[in-house]
């Protein structure tokens, strides 16, 4: 095992895939100088400016041209700089990339990875902080990936690059520098397989991306109170690992979902609905979501923190859940 950051793990994955397959190339603003977050640092020297390509500030063309380049036989890795800016290219992603294969009756595929740095990053305000992963999970044709650790970022990015589907790949800006162990050999992580971060018996907590770290702290605090948490990192939202969640909830009877994005219409709602449909009889308490209020993200730290879901909130919600019996529920 080697210790590296979340950003270094992604860079390693991209470099490995570019060495393996000459049709893989990356395109986006400021890539030549290493990308806004340094996640491409040094790649220009190895692969040259055609494959680590700078782009004009033209999100529509970055996304749209990559659709054409994917249809014409290459495998573009598209850097959108901030997930928020990808909204300038929604037609190209939703109307074109996601649906071309279907609309054309399977005549073409669109193998591209759309990297969208997401999430709150201190005082970046409402146009540089959003978590929009649930939007994309709603769109047929797209795969949605939300890694939380360096090992997952490496293994999932490699799988994404080899996938023939358009993959929306959310990396969280707040954990670029987070360090973790990464295998020395190439480990591919399949889509649709969650990771059991922690085993427990009293309550299942499901999360993804940077919120996993918040949930991890909450689980440790709960353990100190003898509440045993089973913590699941979904890793991908489409496809998502239903079976892992079902198996866990069958054991614990209680489910809490936490995500950084807005609660209303968030992916937590999909998980809650699915579990309620399938496992109503085993639930000892209502399924609970700990997610953001439906409010834009602020600039000033106290205002920003007001919409950030904290470990404390998760602990309080979990305590309440384990103290709820099925009779109280009725």
């Amino acid at each position: 095992m080697v210790k590296m950051t979340y950003a270094e793990a992604a860079k390693l994955a991209l470099a490995e895939e570019m060495r393996r397959d000459p049709l893989v190339w990356a395109i986006g603003e400021d890539l030549g100088r290493g990308g806004v977050f340094g996640q491409y640092l040094g790649l220009l020297d190895e692969f040259g400016p055609e494959r680590i390509s700078d782009a004009p500030i033209s999100e529509s063309a970055i996304m749209g041209a990559s659709v054409g380049a994917a249809m014409a036989g290459t495998r573009p890795v598209v850097e959108m700089r901030f997930a928020d800016f990808a909204l300038c290219a929604v037609d190209e992603l939703i109307n074109q990339a996601a649906k071309a294969r279907y609309m054309l009756g399977g005549q073409v595929k669109v193998p591209m990875v759309i990297r969208e740095p997401m999430g709150m990053w201190r005082s970046s305000a409402a146009q540089h902080s959003q978590s929009l992963e649930s939007w994309y999970a709603h769109i047929p044709g797209l795969v949605v990936v939300v890694p939380s650790t360096p090992a997952d970022n490496r293994g999932l990015l490699k799988t994404a690059i080899r996938s023939d589907d358009p993959v929306v790949y959310f990396e969280h800006k707040n954990i670029w520098g987070f360090e973790g162990e990464v295998a020395e050999d190439e480990t591919l992580i399949p889509f649709g397989k969650g990771r059991l971060e922690r085993e427990g018996d009293d309550i299942t907590i499901v999360s993804w991306s940077a919120q996993m770290h918040v949930a991890g702290k909450a689980a440790a605090l709960l353990q100190a109170q003898n509440i045993s948490v089973e913590l699941i990192d979904l890793r991908t939202l489409w496809p998502w690992d239903r079976q892992m969640v079902f198996d866990s909830v069958e054991k614990t009877g209680r489910l809490l979902i936490t995500h950084e994005s807005v609660s209303v219409g968030g992916f937590g709602a999909e998980i809650a609905a699915t579990v309620s449909e399938r496992l109503f009889s085993v639930l000892k308490a209502p399924v609970i979501r700990c997610a953001a209020p439906r409010v834009p993200i602020s600039y000033a730290p106290p205002l920003e923190d007001k919409v950030r879901v904290s470990s404390k909130q998760i602990v309080e919600a979990a305590e309440k859940l384990v103290n709820t019996s099925s009779n109280d529920n009725r």
């Binding site: 782009a55 749209g64 994917a70 249809m71 054309l104 009756g105 649709g192």
Partner: protein, 333 residues
């Protein structure tokens, strides 16, 4: 328009254009009839009056060249080499449709002949065509990419972004603006500031020109010249072809926003009639010329008959071709 006699044209080449234009016309007339008979299921946009551009451009492309088209794309698709029966089956939503009944008229495509798709979103094909050219450059291949769009497309952002992109990366792409005067049901010039597509292209350093799009000889000549330039590695080019949309925006649009006199005047510039006159002048017999209309009509009548008799597609297809990971056929939806 009167034109100088062209004595030294390649008769066989323009006879082929003449037949292709008739085939497109007959296909569109058949589609209009199918629309009237309620057998076409969604909106269709006819290219009657614009056949010289489809034939003139596509005949100068190779099979392996990419083509991206618009919602008004039947003519381009046919001229690029697609099978009219598979196209008509698609319009009628039947088994054997070229997109398996999933796209209809506005997503018609035939990847086997390099035709990567019509598009239901105006201007969206421009970036895709630039990207296909980008792939050609990265793979160091010899083919080119061609994008046909209407005059309405030049007021959307992708026109600016895609042309700039093609210039910045010096891509092998030919942009064709079919300027038929209308952006949906509004006159394009009323909604366009400045001098239009060619002037905008030139402002970005892209070689561009304006040509009569109803003159098959002019269309053929300029396309051949620009395609040769692009194959030599001279980067993106743009041609604006002036034409006129003889029918409404859709096959169901009576186009009551213009006078009959205007449309009658436009019919006098019918590109097929002009091509027929040219062929007569250079000595082709009237019988040969007239026969093309019959050949095309018979072909499309047969196509229509077969398409009407075809069954609906298998329902299983509804869940196919979505995605490999999280495939809805696995039941997880």
């Amino acid at each position: 328009m009167t034109e100088a006699p062209k004595q030294n044209i390649d008769k066989d080449w323009f006879l082929e254009h003449h037949l292709m234009m008739h085939r497109i016309r007959a296909f569109e007339e058949t589609a209009a009839r199918a629309n009237d008979e309620k057998l076409v299921l969604g909106a269709i946009h006819l290219s009657i009056g614009q056949e010289a551009i489809a034939s003139g451009v596509c005949k100068n492309l190779k099979r392996e060249d990419f083509l991206l088209s618009t919602h008004r794309g039947h003519g381009h698709t046919l001229a690029k080499g697609a099978d009219p029966l598979a196209m008509m089956l698609e319009l009628l939503g039947r088994h054997g449709g070229i997109c398996k009944g999933k796209g209809g008229s506005m997503h018609i495509a035939d990847a086997n002949v390099g035709m990567l798709g019509a598009n239901g979103v105006v201007s969206a094909n421009i970036n895709i065509a630039a990207g296909a050219a980008h792939a050609i450059k990265l793979k160091q291949e010899k083919n080119i990419s061609c994008c046909i769009f209407g005059d309405g497309a030049i007021n959307r952002g992708p026109f600016l972004e895609g042309l700039n992109w093609s210039g910045v990366f010096d891509l092998p792409v030919l942009f064709i603006c079919e300027s038929n005067g209308f952006a949906s049901t509004t006159r394009t010039d009323a909604m366009t500031s400045g001098e239009g597509a060619a002037a905008r292209a030139r402002s970005m350093g892209i070689k561009a020109t304006e040509v009569d799009g109803n003159d098959i000889v002019a269309v053929d000549e300029i396309t051949r010249e620009y395609v040769a330039n692009i194959r030599k590695g001279w980067g993106p080019h743009l041609i604006l072809f002036k034409t006129y949309r003889l029918h409404g925006h859709t096959a169901s649009d009576p186009a009551s926003y213009r006078t009959n006199a205007e449309v009658e005047a436009a019919w006098k510039e019918d590109p097929i009639a002009r091509c027929s006159e040219l062929l007569l002048r250079v000595g082709v017999s009237k019988d040969t010329i007239d026969e093309h209309r019959n050949i095309a009509l018979q072909e499309m009548q047969k196509v229509y008959k077969l398409a009407k008799e075809a069954p609906w597609p298998s329902v299983d297809l509804a869940l196919a071709d979505v995605q490999d990971s999280g495939d809805p056929r696995e039941g997880a939806f």
